[in-house]
Symmetry: C2
Subunit: 487 residues, 2 copies
């Protein structure tokens, strides 16, 4: 597995993950969750493709303006330094996968006309290893010969919730190990149960996992050739990447992007192009499309129940009980899902998991903060956890990574009290710089320049009591920041 | 409704309320819950009988040594000053209702040989008003004539979980309004469904609600005459109340009490005595025997679901969703119960509510703190809430009632940081006494004498960060306390 100077990964990370609430939030979408294994789904997705891109700089994360900060905070706070090298491309507006992928293609083509892109969802599960490596290499070779390549998953059950691809004749020239590209005959969206069963039975269909490999230029050509909508998408994306970075969030950029149709890459290109090939593969794929995916997060007990987190269960059958940390006790459940987080609990039967978005929308309609903000907010320097908030105050637990420091900042409307409960902090307050040991406290007056820093090699935790006329996150003026954050 | 110098209320408040977990805890049993109305169940029980006792000093709360502090903290922190006047009787050990009631009878008889006692559970719901007042007056008159009187509830359904009393001939001499004492013919424990239906159909049976009115001396006589077990109960209780107060918790007291049989007053006396009368009454009684009682706490929606607390429900039928403050979302439940508290969640079908004790016992067996301690601990001066605890620190929200103050105290192993987030505190720290306004902080060094006080007429809330080698509640030395608490 060697890197190629032309191979770039495009990680689609604009999804809001409504169907994974309350684990996911608008500002903590599914791709950031560490529910499956030690790493988040996006971190897994990047690590899956890193061996082929020659490092993190060959990875482009496509996301929304709103999620950009959260994604960068997350990836820069991970131990692997490669994750700090990835680049980001912000869509002016969310417009489904065709505009998102076209925008990435336009950016890659502008930098290198021979770019080959591997497009990967950021929030799926997929086994890497030899079979995956063979798929990527076979797909790259086919892509370099001008094909639009998709990696299709050999189905294991007659699932009606997925798209299927009909597999045609083999193109043996591009074979690598067990990975054999075939002509893609037809794309079918979510078939009914009877057709799904027939597809699986036939052995001639694979699941569409949303993984595509192609030259950036081929994609843009085929999209432009697919009709007026496709041509407009290509025009606007090429125009946008030609703008200076700062102009990409202008009103004009948003207005032009808003005129684009919200269409999937499957609909806009794959179902129309005659240059599509598919590589069937068995890769233990899961689209993590609903809370039922939590069954993958642990082994079921003798009664078929999967339990994660503190608590106990008595007698429950075929249920999922997931707690992020609070005690959850269950008794006599049948086919139920219970998801418990620091600030919200969801209970529903398994056969209603698709309707979690109704709950999400209903809560959003009444302005519930629990759909937007997670309890723990990751930052490049560590994290903060909201413990208690009320009129004129906000209480937080702050953890600062060894060697990291917050920005040099000041607040116009709040003061801050800090009490160290673990480790030693280095505090800048006005002209003074001093150490604050465990069980020592200090006070940051209104408007005073200050900075918090962990110069030690161990953990630093402190309690912060913010008090003032306004204690929102946006009351911050950053004068110096290791991550060049604004405002 | 006038008080009588001989009428005393005996409130049985030793119950641990396992079946109401996670709302109830070992140190916050069912009788302390404010789930039904503005007042706790014990406060409702006391207010129900206060008009007849001539004030709080005529009310004796019988409880365990373990619960005594919690009960007193609770009752002294209520706005009604009568609740601060009640007296307490601590059982050396829990030994069911016969020893508990006999102990109260022995204490009352020793103080006043003509005492008439109204025995009331502390954790039931009961409508007071005219019918109740008539029952108490009729019962008192019959009790003064030497009867053991019980107030029985006219059944509204063929409940198999209750005891029934067969109603015999009327004793019209003691009638007050609609309250007519009758001979009690038979006590029946939890009949099967067929018999329960026949009882209700006959109109000749009432529910045993555990409410008894009798002279203390009559009860002791009848108990002593009922057999060797009863005689021993009377002997030990008379011996115990003759001890100085401090000796009532001696090893000898515990050992003697431990030899008593754990029997109910029904079994030990009521089923055997020929001097028992029953007053049938319709008093909207509920024994709050399981989480199903939460249906009384709010009106059901169109689909039969009762929801209390923040959150939303979509499509749930005939379910109970109770949250003490966190957001709970439910979707498509049928006949389920969800109870969510600050630190624990319970989910089970309605037909398993009796098994909540299994959950409680399983959690207790693994030492889960969530079965013992509530998140909010009431104190005579206000309350504290545990926000975060960890190795060497404990973070609390402290609320001090207007005009109240904590004890003058010191800690051997922890320091305390205080930040006021609402109101103004008066702080004693060593020789200094000073005011701490909102958004000001102070530090209590190790071993320093200190006191926290709210001299204002408004609320006082502060954040306390405790840090030290040990942060348990028992590291406290009280030098002066408005409530004479020890240690």
């Amino acid at each position: 597995m060697s890197g190629s100077s032309h191979l770039h990964a495009v990680i689609l990370a604009g999804g809001s993950g409504q169907r994974f609430w309350p684990l996911s939030r608008e500002l903590n979408p599914k791709q950031l969750l560490t529910v499956f294994g030690q790493e988040s789904l996006i971190s897994q997705a990047i690590h899956r493709i890193l061996p082929f891109t020659g490092g993190g700089s060959g990875v482009m994360v496509v996301t929304s303006e709103r999620l950009f900060d959260e994604l960068r905070n997350h990836l820069t706070s991970q131990p692997d330094p490669s994750l700090r090298e990835v680049t980001y491309l912000q869509e002016p507006l969310a417009r489904n996968t065709a505009p998102a992928i076209a925008l990435a293609a336009a950016a890659l083509e502008a930098a290198d006309p021979d770019s080959v892109m591997v497009v990967l969802p950021s929030d799926h599960l997929l086994a890497d290893g030899e079979a995956w490596a063979a798929c990527v290499e076979a797909a790259r070779t086919a892509a370099e010969s001008g094909y639009l390549v998709t990696i299709g998953i050999t189905p294991t059950r007659p699932e009606t919730g997925y798209g299927y691809i009909a597999v045609g004749e083999a193109l043996p020239a591009f074979t690598v190990g067990a990975a054999v590209p075939h002509a893609a005959v037809e794309f079918v969206e979510k078939p009914d149960a009877e057709r799904a069963a027939a597809y699986v039975e036939s052995g001639r269909y694979v699941w569409n996992a949303g993984i595509f490999v192609m030259r950036a230029s081929t994609l843009l050509e085929e999209l432009a050739a697919a009709g007026a909508d496709g041509a407009r998408i290509v025009d606007v994306c090429r125009w946008l990447v030609a703008q200076p970075t700062t102009a990409r969030h202008s009103d004009e950029a948003r207005e032009r992007f808003a005129t684009l149709p919200s269409v999937s890459i499957d609909y806009a290109v794959m179902e129309r192009s005659r240059r599509v090939v598919v590589i069937p593969a068995s890769l233990d794929w899961n689209d993590v499309g609903s809370l039922l995916a939590l069954e993958e997060a642990a082994r079921a007990d003798a009664l078929g129940t999967v339990r994660i987190g503190p608590g106990i269960d008595i007698d429950s059958r075929d249920s999922i009980v997931y707690s992020t940390g609070r005690l959850v006790a269950t008794l006599g459940l049948h086919d139920m899902v219970v998801v418990d987080t620091a600030d919200a609990t969801l209970v529903l039967p398994k056969d209603r998991v698709q309707d979690v978005r109704l709950v999400f929308e209903a809560l959003k309609a009444v302005g519930a903060p629990e759909v937007t903000q997670p309890k723990v907010s990751l930052r490049p320097w560590g994290s903060w956890t909201s413990l208690l908030a009320g009129d004129g105050f906000h209480l937080k637990l702050i953890e600062v990574t060894p060697g990291a420091r917050l920005s040099l900042q000041r607040h116009a409307k709040r003061t801050e009290h800090w009490v160290v409960i673990e480790g030693t902090a280095t505090v800048t307050c006005g002209a003074a710089v001093f150490e604050l040991a465990c069980n020592e406290s200090t006070f940051i007056p209104l408007g005073e320049l200050h900075r918090l820093e962990n110069r030690t090699g161990g953990p630093l935790r402190l309690i912060e009591v913010q008090a003032g006329s306004y204690v929102g996150e946006d009351d911050i003026e950053r004068l110096e920041d290791d991550w060049d954050r604004e405002g």
